[in-house]
Amino acid sequence: MSIDMSQFIAVYFDEAAEHLANMESLLLELDVGSPDPEDLNAIFRAAHSIKGGAATFGFADLAEVTHVLENLLDRVRKQEITLTAAMVDIFLRAGDVLKDMLAAHRDNAPVDTAPIAEITAQLNQLSSEQVLPVANPQQALTVIIAAGEGFEHDVLCHELQRHGELEDFSPGDAQTPWRFRLKTASSQAKLIDAMAFLLDPARISIEVTGQQDEDFGLFAPLPLPATDLSVDEGFGFFDPLPATAAPALQDGEGYGFFAPPAQPVTEQGGEGYGFFVPVAGSNTPAGVATKPVEAKPSAVRASSERQAERGGDTSIRVSVEKVDQLLNLVGELVITQSMLAQNALQLDPVTHERLLAGVAQLERNTRELQESVMSIRMMPISFVFNRYPRLVRDLAGKLNKQVELRMIGENTELDKGFIEKLSDPLTHLVRNSLDHGIEAPEVRLSRNKPAQGTLTLKAFHQGGNIVIEVSDDGAGLNREKILAKARERGLNVHDNMSDNEVWMLIFEAGFSTAAEVTDVSGRGVGMDVVRKNIQAMGGRVEIQSMTGVGSTMSIRLPLTLAILDGMSISASDELYIIPLTFIIESLQPRAADIKTMAGRGTVINVRGEYLPLIALYDIFSLTARKTSYEEGLVIILEAEGQKVALFVDDLLGQHQVVVKNLETNYRRVSGVAGATIMGDGHVAFILDVAALVKMAQQVTPAEQIAELV
């Protein structure tokens, strides 16, 4: 039994988390001015489902908070109160509190009660603020005490007088009921509470007199009328409303109807479990009990649609380690396969025809297997992006800015390893854009921009990379300020640095030009960490910015960590792999095309374009084998928008290689992105083309400038 229960609890936690996420995203999408009723219903249903489960599993605190939340939501959706932005904020915060509570319950950790009390108070305040002015003006009520034993009606009169004006009183006896007419602003629940001291609450019923709608008015709970029978969904009926009075058809049996609030009604009819989750003070009339059944499927539908959107419906959870192990094994398999293939080449194709066919088949299968295994690790970037609507909303509110968040390419897939590591740096960039980039509405208007700023998150594939851009249409980076700050910090800068170089300065440790440090950003401990994190993933950060127009931070990441297509080249005695994505072309240089400049750098004229020419053996301090450029080959590489020509001895062939991390047992080597194991079992290094390009630039900046003039 207890085992079963714990299973259900685990499911409940998962579901509740899903409902919360659902609720949050719906709240965020909500147009406060004219909310879509469907959305409101969905939000309400989410809260309701959480509450139901919470009560079932005995998480009273959860049930309590959701209960209050649900009440408010219910009234919003019935348009009894109008939605305000402040309310959405509080709802969101309530969602956060619930999330924390769920986590605490899941881990059997103590629940932090302070935020709960706070949010409950806020919610209660919201409901009272909204209610009191509208709700009960003086109402004429008739309190009926069922016929039966006598009681101290003087005391009762006195008690009732405290709540309003007692107008009429007709005493009863064992046969006739007592009737008290009074004018009061108190809710029925309060009255019942007050009278509960004197007699069995089950004997008390209250009628509204002098109200237009006799039939329903009878049962109208004062502060929160749930009498709108025409709502065909019927959900609202069972809402636990603190002061719900019971419909007349149940008058006779009456047990527990007027139970003081907070005492759950548990003894419902046999089939009622699940829907009629016992909730504080709720009374579920058996006569209408079938109605919620209709509502339930719609809730289910909504959530399954959502899941389908995320593609997470038919998935299993597997630990990342298992996947990595699988990936490693496949990597080994690829190496073995290429070893076999290499040896098979030496066999006579005629006599070993079938063996060779088998090897070819193996190659295909291995490649497919490898691709499938790789794809296991791929996840859409929406897993990262999804947190930003909330973040942007909260931050914008805090900073008094108007920001619209646009997300493009959320379905771009990237390695799971990146997903986890990406969120911190990306959050930082988003915060920066909001805080420093996008201006306050007044400033924007004065600059002829719309008051609402736009923050765009964009992910797309480019070559072998995934590019993630965070762009804003804000003020842009301030070149002068950055330069001034750099000088102040004693960095080596000069005025004719290119914009790009200047922008890169903000990645220096401790660099912040924010005039004042806010709790959002500006402490200058961030951009350098961002760059470090991204570099650790084998990626790069680039900045484009224009003063007054905005800035774009792009993160470039390799598609995956594990496998890449490469060209093997030889230089001196060594063999290197160049990732195919960086190679534009390779050509045999003519002596006439190669020029030296200022006695230092060398450039090569490729169809009219002068590119810096670097020799691999120079960079890696190898013994040169080829004495003249004409004997070797030149490979044109492009990285980060820069082209260089790399001089190598020879091109050997194209391979798919498994990237091994050099840093596992050694350290980072400049110019080398990683290592791989070739078919013969030897280790070959994979060149870090972007680093090579940078190395080339360090040699030839003067020449390039001379070239331009």
Partner: protein, 159 residues
């Protein structure tokens, strides 16, 4: 006798290898395996004592020639050259030595503190000197040595 106090009466098992005419002992639990010297892939711009990396069953393992590093012994590579594969600081590293002589157990009383000179190694990495009959075994804290800055094997923290 700081060491003797620290590891009271614990005899330790050592792998003893030779560098030139000196004998060094390292904690045998740090040794993964002993193998011959294979062709290595040299690393660009690495110090000369880092011979390069090898493929050890799918792992890329750097190989350090201690003979070059400490400038002792004959630096030749033939079928007798021995590589000790170490597991230190969650890394796998190979060291090239002149030869592996034996595995022995040293008790605490056989250990003496090393004087402040007398070895190619900085005394900071020497745990003590062990005496076995006429032989003197230099006990090396191989983990500390391999992760030290001048071995250039591990990324400096600041970098």
């Amino acid at each position: 006798m700081e060491l003797a106090h620290k590891e009271d009466d614990v005899s330790r098992e050592l792998l003893v290898f030779a560098l030139g005419r000196e004998e060094y002992g390292i904690d045998i639990l740090k040794v993964q395996e002993i193998r011959g010297y294979d062709a290595v892939t040299s690393i660009a711009n690495a110090p000369n004592f880092i011979k390069g990396v090898i493929n050890l069953r799918g792992n890329i393992v750097p190989i350090v020639d201690l003979r070059i590093k400490f400038n002792i012994g004959n630096v030749t590579y033939d079928q007798f050259t021995v590589v000790i594969i170490l597991n230190v600081a969650q890394r796998t590293i190979g060291i090239v030595v002149d030869g592996v002589s034996d595995v022995m157990t040293l008790s605490t009383e056989q250990l003496r503190q090393a004087p402040e000179f007398g070895s190619a190694l900085d005394t900071a990495y020497i745990l003590g000197l062990g005496t076995v009959e006429e032989r003197m075994i230099i006990l090396v804290d191989i983990e500390k040595l391999m992760t030290s800055a001048d071995m250039a094997l591990v990324e400096a923290v600041a970098a």
